[in-house]
Structures are given as C-alpha cells and as structure tokens.
C-alpha cells in the first residue's frame, strides 16, 4: 500500500565521476506526493547533483530512480513531468515574460488560447499581473525569481525542483519569498524538492529535511526531529549552534562529558561511548557553587535578542545563550536540564575539540603549536605583517573565529612517555571491539578522547596522546 503514495523513489543512487570522485554514494529516498522535501548540506555535499539526476541532466552511475513506480533513470529531461527553478533563474534573455512562461506549454503543442489563459493565471499566482510584455532585463532579482517559478509551475509538473532559488536575493527578499513559496506549495499541491545550504531556510519551509554531507545522507526527518534529535555530530553541528562533547555513560541515565557528570533522559547502556549535544539556549549559567561544572567567561557578544557567552571549563568550551549579560573573566557555574541533553551513541567516535590561536597567529592546543599555517585552514586567506585577510581582502578578527579539530580514534596513538603527547590523561574506559580495543582517555584538561588501539592497555594507565597534525581536520566557525 505504501508504494502507491510515493511519487519518487531513489534507490541506491551513486554518481561517480571519471576521476573516481563520488559526488553521491548509495543514496536512498522516498518522497510522498505533495511533500515539501529539502536537501540540506554544505556546498559540495552532493545535493545539487542529486537534484540534477532527478531532473535528468545527469545520469547516475548506479541505482534507479522511479517516478510513480516507473523507472525513469535514463529518461531525457524533456520527457520527464518534472520542472526546475534554477539557481540563477536561467530565464531566456531574448524572450519577454510571456514567451518565457509559454515556452514549456508550446513544446506540448498547447492551443494558444489556453496558453494565454494559463500564463495570465500563473502571473497572478506570483503577483506579476500584466507583466506579459516586459523584457527580462527590466526586472529586479526578486521579480525574475517569480518569473522563473511561474515558468516552471505553469506546466503543472508532478514535481517541482528548486535549486537554491533564493541564494541570489538579499535577506529581506529571501524571507518574503520563503513564505510565498510555502504558500504556493500549499495552494498548488505539487511535490517540492528544494535544495539549500541555509539551515534556517530548510527548518522554516520543509515537511521533511534530508541532511547530506560528502555525498551521503546523514539524516532524514521532520525539521523538529532534525533539530532536537540530530543523528550524529555532523548534523548537530550543522543545524544551529551546538555544544558537542565526547563522553561516556557512567551509569543508568548518567553521562560524563565536559568534565562533569550529568543526569540525562536517554537510556543508554553503561560504558557506551557517546556524543552529547547541548543547544546553547539550553545552557544555564549560575553561580560557581551551584553549577555542575565551573568555568571562566571568555567572551560575551551581544546578538540583538540575547547574549552569546562563551565559557571555558578546563579545555572545554561551552557556548551559552542568555538574556542576562556576563562579564569576561567572571567565574560561573554551568547546568543543563536532563531533558536538554541529547545523547547519541557515537558510531564514528570522531573526537572534536577546540583549538586556540596564540598571539603569533599560530594554531595551538594545550600550549603546543600545531604545525599548520592559519592561511591553510581559512580558505582563501593570506597573511601580511601578522594580520590575516580573507578572500575578499578584509581583515579577519581572530578573536571572532573558532577553530575545531576533528580526529578519528584510529589516528590517535597512545604512549607511555606522557610528556611526548599533545595531551596526557588516564584510561577511564575500554571495550573490546572484535579486532581492536576502544579506549576512553580522560585528560588532565577534563576532556574525553576516544582512541582505538589493537593492543591491550589497562584501566587507569597514565598515557600521552600522539595526534599527527596531518590526520586532523579543521573546521572554522565564525
């Protein structure tokens, strides 16, 4: 029965280019009739490629696309009842608005009288009544956008594909168009598949969000699901600002992360490695003695509706949103309500932690300079006389950026020579995983690191952690 309601299905779709690069790998999706589905992800995550395969511009190297249960994988784009709103509109510059909108209908040999009526009606829908005779270059960006939508919608496609359609508009216009598109979706009842890298846009508009990264689907769900129950650290990090900590379950409904033990509501087996996610708005700042953990306020930024306060506790950084101001240097306590802690069983265990920038503009961790120039990490930037400039030539304020390091457990090595390590600590947990052991090292800086090793170490062994810089992945947050 379920089959009948799916308008489009993507089965094991893979797109691999000649040079071996996989833009999309083993992508599976079912979209129901009338849904508003959004592909969300950073640029290069494969969302546009997936859309182009649905439209028919690109052929998948593997897998199958079904429209109403019929395979359309290799059908040319002009034979698919699917229309696209392009990123930069792609209006035909040598045709006026009427001709642009009528183009699709003319291809179907629709009688002229019907075309005239339909064009008039669709122009009303996008609030451009009477614009038939105008030429494209007399329109503003927003108006061109509306024409592009009208040109696609007038063909009454079964699916409307929208490839970052609002990307070229300014913020105010974008907000307006978001609402209008949502209205239009309700009114027309057509299935929308929408591509964006803007998480806010995705959250406001969609019935269902598909979060993508590196050509793979990370999570699919309603906006609420995605926001409240991110499936992994990537999703949590990409959707909204999040505090993400590695940790371990220390007892029933008890988790230790960020140097403290917290009560939580997710029932996960004791000893499991976990990733804990806490939204900044859920971080409660109190006096030091009342907090579960203690720290020092390192920065306070006024954001209009609230303050964004960064607290440093050991080596952990906690970002909080609060309506109350705080003072830099102040000692505070930090609390989180149990049901605001989202516990994920860390399937990839990737260690994510903050790096610091020292006064020589070098990247450092725990007082050790990491041998990577900042200009390599911040794309397009260059350094002149100790000042960093971004790609557009403006100066980068190093106080306003945060750099996070990710490193996989198998890339960290443990050593008895504690001083050789980037950081030292003791083994607080170990699990045998069949062909290797997985350890949790609780460091002197109150962080937990997950490390894989084939050899057996003992609980409470004092170790140093060797982390090769070339295995680290750096992400920049502003």
């Amino acid at each position: 029965m379920e089959q009948g309601t799916n308008i489009i299905e993507l089965k094991h779709i893979t797109k691999t280019y000649k040079d071996g690069f996989s833009a999309v790998s083993d992508f599976n999706l079912e979209v129901k009739k009338g849904e508003f589905v959004t592909f969300l992800g950073p640029s290069g995550c494969g969302k546009t490629t997936t859309l182009r395969m649905i439209a028919g511009f690109d052929l998948p190297t593997e897998g199958e696309i079904l429209l109403n249960g019929e395979p359309i994988t290799a059908l040319p784009p002009n034979e698919r009842p699917i229309n696209t709103v392009f990123q930069r509109y792609a209006l035909f510059p040598h045709m006026n608005i009427y001709e642009n909108i009528a183009f699709g209908l003319r291809q179907k040999k629709t009688p002229k009288s019907i075309i005239v009526k339909k064009v008039k009606k669709v122009l009303e829908l996008v609030d451009l009544e009477g614009f038939e005779k105008r030429s494209i270059d007399t329109l503003s960006g927003g108006q061109q956008q509306r024409v592009a939508i009208a040109r696609a919608v007038v063909n009454e496609p079964q699916i409307l594909l929208l490839d970052e359609p609002l990307g070229a508009l300014d913020l105010k216009m974008r907000k307006e168009m978001q609402l209008e598109l949502k209205e239009m979706h309700k009114e027309l009842g057509i299935t929308f598949i929408y591509v964006t890298h803007d998480q806010e846009e995705a959250l406001t508009m969609s019935d269902k969000i598909v979060v993508m990264a590196e050509g793979k689907m990370q999570q699919i769900g309603t906006p609420e699901d995605i926001y409240n129950e991110p499936a992994n650290a990537f999703v949590a990090d990409f959707i909204g600002d999040s505090n993400i900590f590695n940790g371990i379950m220390t007892g029933k409904l008890k988790a230790r992360f960020c140097g403290g033990e917290f009560v939580c509501v997710d029932d996960v087996e004791t000893g499991t490695h976990i990733t804990a996610v806490v939204r900044p708005e859920d971080v409660v700042l109190t006096s030091p003695e009342k907090g579960k953990i203690r720290g020092i306020v390192t920065s306070v930024i006024f954001k209009g509706m609230h303050y964004e306060i960064t607290v440093e506790s050991g080596k952990n950084e906690i970002v909080a949103q609060s309506v109350n101001c705080a003072i830099v240097g102040e000692h505070v306590g930090v609390n989180v309500e149990p049901d605001n802690i989202h516990i994920m069983i860390a399937e990839d265990h990737t260690n994510i932690f903050a790096a610091e920038i020292n006064k020589n503009n070098e990247l450092a961790y725990n007082g050790t300079v990491l041998n990577v120039p900042l200009t390599n990490i911040i794309k397009g930037s260059r350094e002149e006389d100790g000042v960093l400039f971004d790609a557009s030539g403006s100066e980068i304020d190093l106080k306003k950026i945060r750099i996070k390091i990710s490193i996989r457990p198998q890339d960290i090595e443990m050593t008895d020579e504690q001083e050789d390590g980037l950081v030292k600590g003791y083994i607080s947990n170990l699990i045998y995983k069949g062909d290797h052991y997985s350890y949790v090292i609780h460091t002197d800086l109150e962080q937990d690191f997950v490390v894989d090793d084939e050899y057996l170490w003992n609980m409470d062994d004092q170790v140093g952690l060797l982390m090769p810089v070339e295995k680290m992945i750096f992400t920049v947050k502003k």
Partner: protein
C-alpha cells in the same frame, strides 16, 4: 594644454596617413584627369565607365557573389564547429581549436598555395569548376566565424539550455530556439567578417580561380600592370564607391549602437 594638442596632432596625423590617399583619389575620380596632380574639370565619366563596361560590372558582381556564397558556407560550418567544439570533451575541442588556428596565423599565400596543390595538382579538380576557389575562400573565412561565435557561447548562461530541456524542449528545439538566438550577434559579426575577408583576398583567389574569372583584387593588381588609362581611372571610381559604402555602413552601425545604448539607459 600643450599635451592635449600633441595628442590630437598624433591622432590626426595617423588618420591623414590612412585616409589622404583614398580621399585624394576620390576627388580625382570626379575629374577626367589621367594622373593625380593635374588640374582638370568635373566629370562623371569614370563612373559611367565603371557601371557600363561589362568586364568591370561582371568582375564586381562575381566578387560580391563569391564573397556571399563563401561567407554563407563559412558561417554555417564555423558556427556548427564552434557549438560542437564548445560542448565536446577537452581533447576533441582542443584538436578543433588547434586546426582552426592554422589558417588564422598562416600566411594567405601558403593557405592558397597549399589548397591549390591538394585540389588542383593532387586531385585534379579543374579550377574552372569554381570548387577550389569557393573551398579556398571558405577555408579562409570559417575560422574567423568560429572565433566570433566562441566568445558568445562562453558568455551564455549554460543553464538556459538545460532550462529549455527541463521545460520539455528536445535538444534540437533547445538549440534552435535558445542557443542560436543567444549567439546570434556573434554569428552576424562572423558573417560580416567573412564577407570582408573574401572581398579583400588576393592570394587564395590567384592560386585557385579559373583563368577567365577575376575578383576585384586580382583585377586591380593586373590592371595596374597594364597601362589602360580608362580602366585605371574607372577603378578610382570603384575605390570611391566602396569607400562611401563603408562610410554608410559605419554610420548605420554607429546610429544603431547609439540607439541601443539609449534604450538601455532609458528604461
């Protein structure tokens, strides 16, 4: 303001160098003088000779027909080639681009001579069939059409072709209705360039034309060797007519460009 005067002087000097001979000739074409420097009365007899001597009229007509026929074929081939090369894989595109560049950088003498050898000497095609001549002129002109069209393809938003397919157009319809109109200015200027190249050519024509057929260039070159005064001065008239046509064409272009500019600013 001495600098400014200097600048104007240089421009005027160069323009004089370019135009003085043509203008002097134009003035003398309206007299019955046989040589420049002699002062004679006003006369239109050069123009009468030009338009009534069958030999001259045929030669002019032949040149024009040749130019338009060659330009026609060159435009079709060059345009298709540009579109094909633009959308081909890199290797294929660079092969076509390189071959296209050969007649452009090569001396016309070499182009004409090599085509003559291939078609006339090796394949034994008679020059009287006009095939070597037309083939030679198309070879001379098509690469320039190609070079005029390619920039327009580069400027075109690549997604409008996809948009047409998306709206149900077949690839052929999308090409005719979307791509061709977009690159049309390039095609037109390529065609115009092809016409002027063919009209101006001497070398390719010399090596490939039938013995009894003459283009303006080959005719004029032969005429200057002989000493027939009536023909010589009639050619002054021809020079003046062509000059006036070029001026008219330039004026037309300039006015049209001005109008377009106004429209764009106006709305």
């Amino acid at each position: 303001m001495i600098r400014k005067a200097w600048k104007s002087m240089i421009i005027i000097l160069v323009l004089c160098f370019l135009y003085l001979p043509i203008l002097v000739l134009a003035v003398y074409s309206f007299t019955d003088a046989a040589n420049i420097g002699t002062v004679r009365g006003f006369s239109l007899h050069n123009y009468v000779t030009l338009f009534t001597t069958p030999e001259l009229v045929q030669m002019i007509a032949g040149t024009v027909v040749l130019a338009f026929v060659s330009a026609f074929f060159a435009t079709i081939l060059g345009t298709l080639g540009a579109i094909g090369a633009f959308y081909s894989k890199k290797g294929m595109a660079s092969v076509i681009n390189t071959m296209n560049q050969v007649p452009v950088v090569n001396a016309d003498v070499v182009t004409g001579f090599s085509i003559c050898i291939l078609l006339v000497v090796v394949f034994g095609i008679s020059k009287d069939s006009f095939i070597p001549l037309v083939a030679g002129h198309v070879t001379l002109c098509a690469p320039f059409v190609f070079l005029s069209v390619v920039p327009k393809l580069k400027q075109m938003d690549s997604s409008i072709y996809e948009a047409a397919l998306d709206l149900g157009a077949t690839p052929f319809t999308a090409l005719i209705k979307i791509v061709i109109p977009q690159i049309f200015p390039g095609i037109v200027s390529g065609f115009a360039l092809a016409v002027t190249l063919s009209l101006d050519d001497y070398f390719v024509a010399t090596y490939t034309k039938p013995a009894t057929f003459d283009t303006i260039s080959t005719y004029v070159v032969n005429a200057t060797k002989g000493a027939q005064t009536t023909i010589k001065t009639a050619l002054w008239a021809l020079s003046t007519v062509i000059f006036l046509l070029v001026v008219l064409f330039a004026l037309f272009m300039n006015i049209r460009a001005g109008k377009n500019g106004q429209e764009r600013n106006g709305i």
